[in-house]
């Protein structure tokens, strides 16, 4: 297997255009999955050589731009982000461990793959994501960590990341650089729900790299609430990214995204709609939470996530409404 460093993402001889090549950023997902023999790239392309241009953290008055090679820890610790985008800072701060956050990049973070135990264990033949058409071992197996939203009869694997919920809530765009130059698309279109092709996880084409994320506006009234089995270094059982624009007690704009419960970064638009133009009270929080999980489907071990997720959403809203900004 070849390992090479990339000097420019746009170059015509970009080795990444081969479907079997994988970019390497912090390596905290990729190397793990290679050791498990789940990912078997024919070549690895080290993109850290692009870090100088691709790791900037650029807050401006009308929005925020984050380079894809920025480290999770640096973004989480950035004062402007903590002030104007607490949902982003907290989604990163509450993720993984200090050591991982120091290694891991934003681009790698959004591209991290599911933690489904059956996906990560190649001794199981039946995983539609790993072996298309082979079935799904998790469906009737141990599925406590699995998704209740956005599932299909092919795959119920949870999208595990935290940061993506903040991005999708804030209407972020993702900037993609490839041979043909740079394009931009809504972050909400980056990840693909499993449907009948759980092996296709994102809209990236071979050779394309995420170069940056941009977030319009500022969201000082925003929170990331994460429920998990232990106090640190653990994925969400359920999380909510909530951002509100409240003026004189009336909610003018509201964003709600859910983590730990869905197959992809999940925006709860129906729930948001209920909030707009309203004054906040507990009853409203409850209706919003119900709406967010209206389509949820639980399985043997993960049904609790529906009730849990609702309480998390309601509590995150409560926190966002009452936070001092």
């Amino acid at each position: 297997m070849a390992v090479q460093a990339l000097s420019t993402a746009a170059a015509a001889n970009n080795p990444l255009t081969k479907a079997t090549a994988q970019p390497l950023a912090g390596g905290t997902t990729l190397i793990d999955l290679m050791k498990l023999d789940v990912m078997r790239p024919a070549a690895i392309v080290d993109i850290n050589s692009l870090a100088r241009g691709w790791s900037a953290i650029e807050p401006a008055s009308d929005g925020l731009r984050l380079g894809a090679l920025a480290k999770m820890s640096n973004v989480a610790a950035h004062a402007d982000i903590q002030r104007n985008y607490p949902v982003i800072a907290d989604s990163l701060r509450l993720a993984a461990s200090a050591q991982l956050r120091n290694m891991a990049t934003l681009g790698g973070n959004v591209m991290q793959r599911t933690r489904c135990s059956y996906f990560r264990d190649i001794s199981y033949e039946n995983c539609n994501k790993r072996n298309p058409g082979s079935g799904c071992a998790a469906m009737d197996g141990v599925n406590r960590m699995h998704a209740v939203l956005g599932t299909s009869d092919q795959c119920i694997a949870t999208y595990p990341g935290d940061f993506a919920q903040a991005l999708i809530a804030l209407d972020a765009a993702v900037e993609i650089t490839g041979k043909a130059g740079t394009r931009s698309m809504p972050f909400a279109q980056l990840h693909k729900a499993p449907g009948s092709t759980p092996d296709i996880e994102t809209a990236l084409q071979p050779g394309e790299l995420i170069s940056a994320f941009s977030v319009p506006g500022r969201w000082p009234r925003s929170v990331y609430l994460k429920a998990r089995d232990r106090q640190s270094y653990e994925f969400a059982l359920s999380s909510a990214a909530v951002a509100l624009d409240v003026q004189d007690g009336t909610i003018r704009d509201a964003r709600v995204a859910l983590g730990g419960v869905a197959t992809v970064p999940w925006r709860a638009r129906e729930a948001e709609a209920l909030l707009k133009g309203q004054k906040f009270d507990d009853g409203l929080a409850q209706r919003v939470a119900d709406a967010a999980f209206a389509d949820a489907k639980g399985r043997q071990h993960n049904s609790f996530k529906i009730a849990l997720g609702k309480r998390v959403v309601a509590h995150a809203l409560q926190q966002a409404v009452t936070m001092e900004i």
């Binding site: 023999d37 461990s97 933690r115 135990s117 059956y118 264990d121 190649i122 001794s123 199981y124 009737d140 197996g141 141990v142 406590r144 609430l225 429920a227 998990r228 089995d229 232990r230 106090q231 640190s232 270094y233 653990e234 059982l237 359920s238 609790f304 009730a307 849990l308 309480r311 998390v312 309601a314 509590h315």
Partner: protein, 763 residues
């Protein structure tokens, strides 16, 4: 949390820093896999993807094509090995399931092939390319699976001798004023020591050296020799440091003899490093258990009837049994007691010891039930224990050699602030968090086994202690060095300790918390032999010397390190009188009540542990009390345990620093076991699902902000010469129940199944 070492109280040694502290924190400590080998080949295991059935065929072409592959060993070409009996049936093995013998598969993750290559990476790559065709049969995964068989433990496990019983339980329970019947469940758990289940085997001619983390180098040496069919004297096991054991390295696993056999055939050292997930199936684990407790009491809280029925899972061929009713039926005064332990056989790897094997699951049940009874009686749970406290165990009517249970409760309660607790559940909160306080008793039998030691003293005070004990992180080097320094009156810095090598005089398995008691008693005895020789050299008569050796201190540096005495014997003078340069003594110590064959057994790798409830006319246990604060989030139902306080009494504390560290680790593990740890079993195929440290959760620092250990002073002259009860397995026993009891106090919900997770808390 304070970091300073605790001050010694009466009957405690000095809190000297760990003998191996610098080596460990600088990475210089050499673990088994760090040992240099001459031109080794690397092994990687292939393990089965089914739990029951047979291998139809292997396709090895792809694997063989990987550059650097030397050999692939399957049942078709494996070295022939002799069987080894289960340790509890007089053998050495933790399982009698011998892989690579036939096409049969008896459990998930059974070793089915070994790839040998020039590098670890090549071996792993090739192992991933081995293709196996199986015929799978539906396995029985656990208690409720079809196809399991259940039977009483008594009669199938030689070490399970009796279902403890006294009085007439049925009648007393019927007539009791207050009754409680409740069922409790504990999950399968895996030890997950940091050091993986590696082994390295190197032959020199007919002699084999095994570098492997082991809690019993003599057991492993003799067991591997038996399997290879060679003389045990030709096998040496070396492991100066062990990266955690917790019971997983107490008995022999099948991997070692296989690797040794292949190394012999290839005429090359082989190093095996299995993966974390392979560790879940190639070694032992704590199997899941179920309990039914029935308690009958008077309105005054006095127990009149107690029954404890336990059920445990084991493998098809092996009746491993934990059987903790021996403890739970003896902990409190109660005239009518009954118990029954049964074993349920499933298609699983054979379980084994895991830190405090019987007490962890069984005391969880009893101490939860005691709390439930206290609620029924409207009584403080500490007072319920006080009313039922006893100095005589009820089954055999034998006195406890010492018992500081209530003193521990009182000390820990004071430190914790228990008196401020309002007994009403759900009565305290702090913002989003419901707060609960809970407590439980903890205990662990005092056990000892025969041990030998060799001690060599030089004229300048330099001392060398050799004993095949084990440094599994407990502080063995440190307390052995302290014992010799104290006994011989030499400065601690002059004592060099050698453990972890089966060429040294035999010590027992580092299990059952017997190590400090056994090894230090042996070292004391051998130091006394040296003292006697020195005294004889300078005393006019033997009888005077005999008397003096009991009472008079000796000292190489009389002004500083003299043991209690008015006129210590000067070592240099004694050496001059003897006319020798070195005094060396070897000795074999055995505890009171040890069977006659125990020295022979000691040399052949069978540790005969005695103590606990098995002593002739007494019973010996260490005790403690644990108090916890839990917080349950109103919205997320997340459960945290920010404060753990334990008070413990365990006879002589050799070193308060290392003792506290053991107990602190125990409390943390107890919390982990209550809230985090469970091996998830896929019921369809009897396979472990979360077999890695990302999914098998253990606490991180943020989970344990406050852990307080209180050491009580206790002296017990009826157990062993060292006066030591052993405490490695004391602290993680009571925590499970203390946490569930605190969750009840916080939420009003009684949870009887571990681990407790947020989905178990109702709105």
């Amino acid at each position: 949390m304070t970091a300073a070492a605790p001050e010694p109280k009466a009957n405690m040694g000095q809190p000297v820093p760990r003998y191996d502290a610098a080596a460990k924190v600088t990475g210089r400590a050499t673990y088994a896999s760090d040992m240099p080998l001459d031109n080794p080949a690397y092994a990687f295991l292939v393990t089965s993807a089914i739990a029951k059935g047979r291998i139809d065929s292997f396709d090895l072409d792809d694997a063989r094509s990987v550059r650097g592959v030397i050999d692939i060993v399957t049942h078709e070409n494996a070295p022939k090995l002799k069987e080894s009996k289960l340790f509890s049936n007089g053998g050495y093995a933790g399982t009698t399931i011998q892989p690579l013998k036939s096409v049969d598969i008896a459990h998930d993750g059974q070793i089915i092939a070994v790839v040998i290559a020039e590098s670890y990476e090549a071996a792993r790559e090739a192992a991933n390319r081995v293709k196996v065709s199986y015929t799978a049969v539906a396995p029985s995964a656990s208690f409720d699976s079809p196809g399991t068989t259940a039977a009483a433990a008594k009669g199938q496990n030689a070490q399970f001798k009796e279902d403890a019983e006294v009085g007439d339980f049925a009648r007393a329970f019927d007539a009791a004023e207050v009754k409680l019947t409740a069922s409790y469940d504990t999950p399968a758990q895996h030890h997950n020591p940091m050091e993986l289940f590696t082994t390295s085997c190197a032959w020199m001619g007919d002699n084999l050296v095994i570098y492997e983390g082991s809690q019993y180098v003599y057991g492993l040496k003799n067991g591997v020799a038996e399997q290879l069919g060679i003389d045990a004297d030709k096998v040496r096991v070396v492991n100066p440091y062990v990266g955690g054991g917790f019971g997983s390295r107490g008995s022999m696993t099948p991997r070692t003899a296989i690797i040794a056999g292949i190394a012999k055939r290839l005429n090359r050292p082989i190093k095996l490093v299995p993966t974390r997930d392979q560790g879940f199936t190639i070694a032992t684990y704590r199997a899941e258990t179920r309990h039914e407790i029935r308690l009958g009491a008077g309105r005054d809280g006095r127990l009149v009837a107690l029954r404890h029925d336990g059920a445990e899972v084991s493998s098809r061929p092996d009746a491993y049994c934990v059987g903790g009713t021996k403890t739970t039926t003896r902990l409190y005064a109660c005239p009518n007691v009954a118990s029954l332990v049964s074993i349920v056989r499933a298609d699983r790897n054979t379980p084994g010891f895991m830190r405090s094997p019987p007490e962890v699951p069984y005391l969880f049940a009893l101490e939860s039930a005691m709390d439930e009874l206290a609620v029924k009686l409207n009584m403080d749970p500490v007072e319920l224990r006080r009313i039922n406290d006893t100095n005589v165990e009820p089954i055999g009517g034998k006195p406890y050699t010492s018992r500081s249970l209530m003193a521990c409760f009182d000390e820990a309660a004071k430190a914790f602030g228990w008196s401020q607790r309002s007994p009403q559940p759900k009565s305290v909160s702090d913002g989003d968090w419901l707060i609960g306080y809970g407590c439980a008793a903890t205990c662990y039998p005092t056990q000892m086994a025969p041990s030998a030691a060799r001690v060599r003293l030089q004229r300048d005070g330099r001392t060398r202690v050799e004993i095949a004990g084990h440094e599994i992180g407990t502080g063995a080097y440190t307390v052995i060095a302290q014992t010799a320094a104290e006994r011989l009156g030499v400065p601690l810095e002059k004592v060099a300790v050698f453990v972890g090598d089966s060429d040294l005089p035999p010590a027992p398995v580092a299990g059952g918390s017997n190590s400090t008691a056994s090894t230090c008693s042996a070292v004391m005895m051998v130091c006394d032999q040296i003292r006697q020789r020195l005294f004889k050299a300078v005393m006019p008569s033997d009888s005077l010397a005999d008397k003096a050796k009991e009472t008079v201190g000796i000292s190489q540096a009389p002004s500083t390190q003299a043991a209690k005495s008015d006129r210590p014997l000067d070592i240099e003078k004694a050496f001059d009188a003897l006319g020798v340069g070195i005094v060396e003594e070897y000795g074999e110590w055995k505890p009171e009540g040890a069977p006659l064959d125990s020295f022979m057994a000691m040399h052949s790798g069978h540790a005969r542990l005695v103590g606990g409830h098995q002593m002739k006319d007494k019973i010996a246990y260490a005790f403690g009390a644990e108090f916890v604060e839990v917080r349950v989030n109103r919205f997320t139902h997340e459960i945290r345990a920010p404060r753990l306080v334990g008070a413990f009494a365990a006879g002589r504390i050799m070193n308060p620093r290392t003792a506290r560290s053991q107990l602190m680790g125990g409390l943390i593990w107890g919390m982990s076991s209550a809230l985090l740890e469970a091996t998830e079993i896929d019921q369809r195929n009897a396979r472990y699902v979360n077999d890695n440290l990302a999914d098998y959760l253990v606490p991180v620092n943020a989970d344990v902000p406050g852990v307080e250990v209180i050491l009580l002073s206790e002296q017990d002259d009826h157990i062993n010469p060292a006066g030591v009860k052993g405490l490695g397995e004391l602290a993680n026993v009571g925590t499970n129940a203390a946490i569930c009891n605190a969750i009840y106090h916080a939420t009003g919900q009684r949870i009887r199944k571990l681990p407790v997770r947020l989905e178990n808390i109702e709105a």
